[in-house]
Subunit: 569 residues, 2 copies
């Protein structure tokens, strides 16, 4: 974009700026200082800081602090269960003006068409939605996703000016071991940001992972792991997700010397967290409570991620950069009183102002090909003991236990007395009719069934229940809504939250999604589950890259052995 | 470049590395810590840090410090008066393993062919010579350069993998004022590093300059100016050139919070400084003497410039990065005992080891088109007073004085009694026969003449002297060598240093160049000049972008008015 001469004239002070934010204290993250200067804006950019500028529109921000809009370094918008505009309405009023997203969930359902939908539906928002090309579609060949993206598919995305680099390379064994298809994807993005994902990887394997190419990591759980990764050259993204809260544990890692290579990310946040607690703003509060200087905390959400991603047009309130500005009255609550994007007011007192958005694009037609007449959830008994997935509360890892199943009329049945439920993964993308079947302990159900198409990462239709009739009711209820969450008992649908966009996202406002989510969770509680969020637990039982025992449409997966295993031992 | 699986195997420790630097303390600039770890190298890259690696070749560095090779963020190699291989032999043994150069001098002589020569002659060196496309060729239309490079010419250079961005945009009035040709050049390099050059520019003009696009500045002379530039988002390159020593003055600018956006550069260094004092290593010594922690000083010469230029393959000793390593025994003298480039030893005890270099390329044929029969240095008297350039010792700015000239037989003559010498700029690139004529005060000559083709930025043949015969002798001596420096008295050539490569660089070793330079300076002293370096002073009398009165082949330039002016008032 050629700089217009009108911007230069405004910068020189020879013509009035469009907007002047007057009287505030600028949080200068470039030098970590507070500066009493006005901010002159023209053409959506900061054109000058000083005290002599004039503008056609003056905003009095006397006595308040002006912060650069926050950047979220890594987020899956789909985890908000809402579309990008609704996600934006949740995060922008709290000060986040840029997110770097990995549209990994919808890509596993709809492939490039899904990523294209995310790009189109985030066009023209007050939130800058920047995209990393999803590197692991599908996660593994042990389950059936809706698409498969190779290096060529991923590089085709670079034609879009909001695509920055390669999203989290979760296949860390593939990088470390030098699998050619994984290296080909990395190689195609060489010179651009390449995000990593290497939970617990340390020592020589970590060295190899870094040699392979990823540049960041957001999966650290201990200060020791985090410090080793910083020392070896990975950027550290501190994460505070709904299902993985690592921030407080990792604060002790930070030193004045190493925190320049640290950024903040939310990864996966559900509506209640986004609406009640916030996102990056919440993380800033936690950091300041933990003793980090406010301007230093702010750098982790502004300048640092901007530098990591090579975004020279944001990350600070400075000439030439976007006029994305958050107005607050103090540097500990970070309560956003006003948010400006490109110099335009977009939110006030924590609420979005009316936005004039383009018409939302039509999402891809549902990936919901299930030949119901061939779907059979029965498990004929053919042995003494079965492998059972054991849910670990509030974690995405599972255990495996071996136990004799309850058998009724030659078929394996759920056993509520022992909290053993049947679980099924019904392939929904290709119409294969394939169903993976098993048993799970720890869901806490005593009757009925839960079904969901939010089932990382393949997002097939996952169902858990006490009897096949309830399971099929719940599954068919979900399918009829184009995807979503449902709770059934017998033929009765107790509650349902349709997620017609990819089977992952609602087309409703986030407040409505939140109420729907709370309703299905409440219905699940009525069936006996006492998990904090039984649908969240369910959604990770299919993720065959997280230990120990998981299930896909192809059957049980021993993740440590990285292979499919039989139900029967 | 696809990472080879052999590197990954070495990183995993499953096959021996090529080289192991064992027993040393690694200066980890990523976290600003010293770490007792071995460094395993394969394929020229660091593949691992740890204490369990093995290698086919082990180097014992016990008790010593391993530093990342230094980066010089901005240098004109031509100012060393030597070709890139000879420049490399001077700087690599002191620890500089990467330079980002602006081939601005030879570009003003030979255009793209000159830049191409610099690229070819630096191919295969142990020094990484990275290139910024010269933005100001020519500096202005008020003088005649050997070439003119527009935005299209400059972007054609991006096809070369060692060309990074746009070199110092010296035409700061053009940026601030929004001149379309200047903005077109910047726009062509948007998203890449764009170096700035804005001496003394502050306030609203500085805001406009930054809105225009440049990202760094190396022309600050006061801490106040430097801090303002950092606050507004420019990177600060601290400079310690032969003719501009700003480092000590600017150290007070640095704080732990702002110095992450600071790098070191040498800009222009002549052989005596390079050989006796050093370059970046000298600057590290000064910083540490000034109280900066050694690891923090080191960041300014390693990680910081690597981040500014987006060079993820260097700037730290870390997996995946180039194994460019400097071995020292202490962190205050920074005396390089060993230098490794790509894991290979290239220097020891401050001396280059024998390098197996490719045959040097042939430089472009001399740009030396002077129709001597039409060159006339006589100045017919046609007034009472003339404008005289006054040399300010050890500065590149000049003053202007008005005085009656000495006139002999109707012609203006030099007047040694008043230290008024004649000065001529003989256009050498196009054969126009054009000569700019004037008078200069302060060269200190009493007889004879000095001539040089090192005459920033047009690099025409500049001559100063007491009589036309000496001036023509010196000028023709220079021309006959394809360019260079010469001292003459009457018909006698007292000393000459041929610089046949572009009229800027010798084809001899730097030690020989140094002796030649000292000889011509000594000869100039014999003619009465007591300037520290009369050729250096002479070389800037033609630079029509530095105040106040300068001279080109088109005549006298009033730099403040930015226009040609008559000799006679």
């Amino acid at each position: 974009m050629m700089i217009q001469s009108s911007l230069l004239a405004a910068a020189r002070g020879e013509r009035p700026a469009d907007v002047l934010l007057q009287g505030g204290m600028v949080a200068n993250v470039l030098t970590a200082e507070l500066e009493r200067v006005d901010v002159a804006v023209a053409g959506g950019r900061v054109v000058g800081l000083g005290t002599d500028y004039e503008a056609s529109h003056v905003v009095d921000v006397s006595g308040r602090f002006l912060l650069p809009g926050y950047l979220d370094a890594h987020v899956h918008i789909e985890s908000s269960l809402a579309t990008p505009p609704e996600f934006a309405r949740a995060v922008v009023p709290r000060g986040t003006t840029t997110v770097v997203c990995d549209p990994h969930e919808i890509a596993n359902v709809h492939g490039l068409a899904g990523i294209d939908y995310m790009l189109r539906s985030s066009q023209g928002l007050p939130l800058s939605v920047l995209v990393m090309a999803s590197s692991c579609v599908p996660a593994t060949p042990m389950g059936t996703a809706g698409a498969q993206l190779d290096a060529g598919d991923l590089t085709s995305l670079l034609a879009h000016d909001r695509v920055l680099g390669l999203a989290e390379v979760m296949n860390f064994p593939g990088v470390i071991g030098g699998h050619p298809d994984v290296l080909a994807k990395i190689d195609a993005f060489r010179g651009r940001p390449i995000d990593g994902h290497a939970p617990g990887v340390r020592g020589a394997p970590l060295n190899a992972y870094i040699v392979g190419g990823p540049l960041s990591d957001h999966e650290c759980t201990t200060p020791e792991e985090a410090l080793e990764k910083l020392r070896r050259g990975l950027w550290l993204f501190l994460r505070e997700a709904t299902n993985a809260r690592n921030l407080r544990d990792l604060v002790p890692t930070l030193t004045p010397q190493n925190r320049r290579r640290v950024a903040l990310c939310t990864d996966d946040r559900q509506p209640p967290d986004l609406l009640d607690e916030g996102g990056i703003d919440h993380m800033l509060r936690v950091l300041v409570e933990s003793g980090i200087e406010p301007l230093e905390a702010l750098r982790l959400a502004t300048l640092n991620p901007a530098e990591y991603f090579g975004l020279r047009d944001r990350g600070a309130i400075a000439p030439g950069r976007r006029a994305d500005v958050v107005v607050v009255s103090d540097l500990h609550s970070f309560a956003a009183e006003e948010v400006f994007v490109g110099g335009e007011p977009v939110a006030r007192s924590g609420e979005a102002l009316p936005w004039n958005l383009p018409a939302p694009p039509t999402p891809p037609p549902p990936s919901m090909q299930v030949p119901w007449d061939r779907v059979d959830l029965s498990i004929p008994a053919r042995g003494d003991r079965v492998r059972v997935i054991r849910v670990v509360p509030d974690q995405i890892v599972t255990d495996a236990i071996l136990t004799p199943p309850r058998v009724v009329d030659g078929l394996v049945a759920a056993d509520p007395v022992r909290d053993l439920m049947k679980i099924a993964v019904i392939e929904r993308h290709t119409g294969s009719g394939r169903v993976g079947l098993g048993l799970v302990h720890g869901m806490g159900l005593t009757e009925g069934a839960l079904a969901s198409t939010v089932a990382h990462d393949h997002h097939n239709l996952i169902v858990v229940g006490a009897d096949d009739r309830s399971m099929l009711s719940a599954a068919r209820a979900v399918a009829s809504g184009g995807g979503g969450l449902a709770v059934a008992r017998g033929d009765a649908i107790l509650s349902a939250l349709p997620l017609p966009v990819g089977g992952l996202m609602s087309d409703r406002p986030m407040e409505a999604v939140r109420l729907g989510l709370e309703a299905v969770i409440e219905a699940a509680r009525g069936l006996g589950s006492d998990l904090h969020d039984p649908f969240m637990a369910l959604s990770f039982l299919g993720l065959e890259v997280i230990p120990t025992l998981k299930i896909t449409d192809r059957g049980l997966v021993d993740v440590d052995a990285f292979q499919l295993v039989d139900l029967w031992v």
